[in-house]
Symmetry: C2
Subunit: 204 residues, 2 copies
């Protein structure tokens, strides 16, 4: 079979196909869209990707993603944020989700993943010692362990709870509430969520 | 609200969000994937996008996409392809779909879309005069009108049929068969497809 598409298009399809969840058809659609659009669209996308790694670094205290020219996360350095309260999350983007609630005035600590023996991720790969150091240094009073509601997230939460206790650190620890999401009918809730919702029921 | 994500990451999310069907969450996932992956992944993607427009052009005869340094589509210049038979398609990627069947030995003509008054696309925006010129020049005997099975594709097919007749061009014209796709149960076929399948039934 002769080559059906120009090499430059095939190259773009191949590279776009490396994005997570993007199959051959979707990659074709993206590449063809970019080809039909004004060339500035693909040029601007290319420029943003070129600068992605050099423009971003990890905050050395919270491990949130920050601008390469920042020293620490502004969510940490901000004097309005309560440094004695830390929400512990798995990934940097989880911070965005929690900030969107507008309800949290503490600081964050990104673990950099969750304990997952299958994926070869043990506690030693996560930013756990740094969390212990922060608890001592910033005189932290409360930890909200906001790891995911997955098996890995739960294991990580349990591990952290024991780790902090074993270190003799005096800090209140809590876990985000499990229950029925807003707008979801009871009949569609899975049994584990429903069991959590029953257990965590609140008095009027 | 303070800026939650580094500017370079926000820029990449914004640009990725311009791809068709990509919302904010998907764009975040793509950008974060690229950020976590080795920087060569985003560099290679960026490089392929930079070269996309300069590396691709339209074949002046068939309007298929070709390498910028090619003169005409290899599917047209190939002496093994029958120039007296043309499959008329809406978009360049439709050629790839037809070539995958391995059943077609003619040449292609890309219209560059379909007639769609709502989107402001009239026959004058499509490569229809060039098709008429090809029919005369290459002594074309048969046209397979392989536009989509959409309202726009059907209107375009009807328009082409009349246009070619009005020009007094003597050429056999056909349309791709409509029917039940392979592997689909009768009960899941929509009524229009089923009506087409009945009408186009084949004797044993």
């Amino acid at each position: 079979m002769a080559q059906l598409l120009p090499q430059a298009l095939v190259a773009a399809i191949d590279e776009l196909g490396k994005l997570p969840g993007v199959g051959a058809r979707t990659a074709e659609r993206y590449a063809y869209f970019l080809l039909r659009a004004d060339s500035t669209t693909s040029q601007k996308l290319a420029a943003s990707l070129t600068k992605l790694h050099t423009g971003v670094k990890s905050c050395p205290v919270t491990f949130a993603l920050i601008d390469a020219d920042e020293e620490v996360s502004s969510l940490y350095s901000d004097p309005e944020r309560d440094k004695s309260l830390i929400a512990v999350v798995e990934e940097p983007l989880d911070i965005v989700a929690l900030e969107r609630t507008g309800q949290f005035k503490g600081t964050y600590h990104v673990l950099g993943g969750a304990i997952s023996p299958i994926d070869g991720v043990g506690p030693e790969q996560l930013h756990i010692p740094e969390l212990a150091a922060r608890i001592e240094k910033d005189n932290v009073k409360e930890l909200i362990i906001a790891t995911n509601a997955s098996v890995e997230g739960e294991s990580t939460a349990l591990f952290l709870q024991r780790y902090i206790k074993d270190k003799g650190l005096e800090v209140t620890m809590s876990r985000l509430a499990r229950g029925i999401p807003v707008g979801v009918d009871l009949e569609y809730a899975d049994q584990i969520t429903l069991a959590h919702a029953l257990e965590g029921r609140k008095a009027f």
